[in-house]
């Protein structure tokens, strides 16, 4: 007798999972090493490698805001 059909993963959960995986890749080898680990171009006076990490912080904050908004039931 077949078991219950697994429920599909809701889109916001799926997108968050993809974002987290991509973010970890961008913080570590090889993506960061290949794309972010350089000095130029400098961003607001900061080396690109530093601005890259700060950019990920900003992006994560934005993504979590969107995710929270999309998944919280409004009363």
């Amino acid at each position: 007798m077949p078991g219950p059909t697994p429920r599909p993963v809701p889109l916001p959960h799926l997108l968050l999972g993809v974002y987290v995986a991509a973010c970890i890749a961008c913080m570590t080898w090889p993506v960061y090493a290949q794309l972010g680990a350089r000095i130029e171009p400098r961003v607001l006076g900061l080396p690109f490698s530093f601005a890259w990490v700060i950019g990920l912080m900003v992006a994560t904050f934005a993504v979590m805001c969107f995710y929270h908004h999309a998944t919280t039931r409004r009363g």
Binding site: W29, A37, E40, R42, I54, M57, H68, T72
Partner: protein, 509 residues
């Protein structure tokens, strides 16, 4: 008025303000739950600062600039792991909060031990936590003593600085429990944020004409410091494997620090908890200016004795107003105290609730339990102070071995909250394997097959053994289903009123 007098005066004013905020009487039930979890009543503002300020310790003002000064871009790992490290708490925090509200849990270990009805698990987690907390607290005390001593140019001896600062901490933690921690952390957190940004922008401007010109000089004179993974302490090129796995292990373990995890039981509701996690990166930004200060030290004319002393070293060797130095001192004390108070409070709570009540099965009335927690946290603080006083750095280094195994709590907690098939034997075996392997590889780095963080090896062994042994041992009763349904937000077939789980837990107050 001498410079040291002004610096000491500002620090004393700051400590007085902390004492006032921490001792301010607030409505709190007489039970241990009130003392440990604040009657689960904390709102968003206090939750935001209590989590942020708890995470940022004396390390933020001393260690973060020290890493950037010593290893350049390697310090970016501190910013990176914090960015994602709290995200798991968005999901596990509300689950823990539901269980806590239903069954009266106030610590991580009693929540886990109850799921598996295994008191020994609570005892083991309490022991590892206590072993990690004591040196952590010692370092906070040493940090505050060092800062006061440095900025007053030896006018305040280190032993006295640490003693005064932590006497204040003991006073408000003893009286107000987690509410004292929460409200002082709110005050301290705001102070730290303002100070970090002020110093981080002002010092590069004062020394090099601004942040941009400073990095322009570094790009010409020391470019290797600006490209991750940065140089090692000895000046050799760093390893991407170590850099990347430092981040991974820290992300995995971040949410499971017992003194941080316990805050899941203090929030007013689930939405407050989730919004705290969403807002957390705004607190993380506070590390950016401190890392910038570390880079400022690379070009500085003289060098401190230790890399972690770079920020006070710069402050004491440039022409600065003593008021600014005094404010820095207060900011560094805020960072030390806001972690030290949470650690001391957690240590007392965990040793009594997990070690004595859950693991040993002792039962106390609520007032007695709260008194024992207070006495225990005092004992932990005295022990940490004595170790700091003796300058027993070898002992601190030894005890810091327990710092790593804390990350091995992650699979245990996730299995308890999500995996129905997990068994107590499985999680206990996995935890032991993870702790042993990571500790051995920490002690003997040459035994690692690849240059990765030892926690990764421990985590792989932990998860593999947890899964294998769980599948090989007997499935547990309906209690697992009920527990997980409550965690997921369902009724779980249990009564809606708070109730006690079967065994492995004390009767509710």
């Amino acid at each position: 008025m001498g410079d040291s007098t002004i610096v000491v005066g500002i620090s004393v004013l700051y400590l007085g303000a902390c004492l006032l905020v921490g001792m301010w009487p607030r409505k709190q039930s007489a039970s241990a739950d009130g003392y440990v979890a604040g009657d689960r009543s904390l709102g968003l503002v206090v939750m935001y600062f209590i989590t942020g300020a708890t995470i940022f310790s004396a390390f933020a003002f001393l260690g973060a600039p020290g890493r950037a000064y010593e290893k350049g871009a390697y310090a970016f790992y501190i910013l990176s792991f914090g960015t994602l490290g709290f995200v798991p708490f968005y999901f596990i925090g509300p689950r823990a909060a539901r269980l806590g509200r239903r069954f009266g849990f106030v610590t991580q270990a009693e929540m886990v031990a109850s799921r598996f009805r295994m008191p020994a698990l609570a005892g083991a987690m309490a022991l590892v936590s206590a072993l990690a907390f004591v040196p952590y607290l010692t370092l906070q005390m040493q940090g505050s003593g060092y800062v006061l001593n440095a900025v007053t140019r030896d006018a305040v001896p280190r032993w006295m600085g640490g003693l005064i600062v932590y006497a204040v901490v003991l006073a408000y933690v003893w009286r107000s429990g987690v509410l004292g921690v929460g409200w002082t952390n709110t005050f301290q957190g705001m102070f730290m944020l303002a100070l970090a940004w002020g110093l981080g922008l002002y010092l590069p401007y004062k020394l090099y004409g601004g942040v941009g010109p400073m990095f322009a000089r570094l790009a010409v004179e020391k470019p290797e410091y600006l490209v991750p993974p940065g140089p090692t302490s000895s000046g050799e090129p760093g390893s991407w494997g170590a850099y990347s796995t430092d981040i991974l292990v820290s992300i995995i373990g971040f949410s499971f620090w017992p003194h941080l995890f316990m805050k899941a039981f203090t929030a007013r509701d689930e939405n407050t908890l989730r919004r705290t996690v969403v807002l957390y990166p705004t607190f993380q930004f506070f590390l950016v200016p401190l890392v910038i200060i570390g880079f400022a030290g690379i070009l500085f004319a003289s060098a401190p004795e230790q890399p972690d002393q770079i920020l006070p070293h710069i402050l004491m060797n440039v022409e600065l107003s003593p008021v600014l130095v005094g404010l820095f001192c207060a900011g560094a004390l805020a960072a030390s105290m806001s972690s030290g108070d949470a650690i001391a409070h957690a240590a007392g709570s965990i040793l009594i609730r997990d070690g004595v009540v859950t693991a040993l099965g002792k039962r106390f009335d609520p007032a007695r339990e709260r008194f024992l927690i207070r006495v225990t946290l005092t004992g932990v603080m005295v022990l940490a102070y004595v170790i700091a006083l003796l300058g027993a750095d070898d002992l601190v280094a030894l005890l810091l071995y327990a710092y790593g195994p804390i990350t091995q709590f992650a699979p245990v907690v996730v299995a308890a909250l999500y995996w129905r098939r997990a068994t107590g034997t499985g999680v206990f075996a996995g935890l032991v394997a993870g702790v042993v392997i990571s500790s051995i590889l920490k002690a003997e780095p040459a035994w690692r097959p690849w240059p990765l963080h030892e926690g990764i090896y421990g985590m792989v062994a932990n998860v593999a053994i947890l899964v294998f042994v769980s599948l090989a041992t007997q499935r547990q009763s309906d209690w697992d289903r009920e527990y997980l349904e409550v965690a997921a937000g369902g009724g779980g077939g249990l009564s809606a009123a708070p109730s006690a789980p079967p065994s492995a837990s004390r009767p509710r107050a």
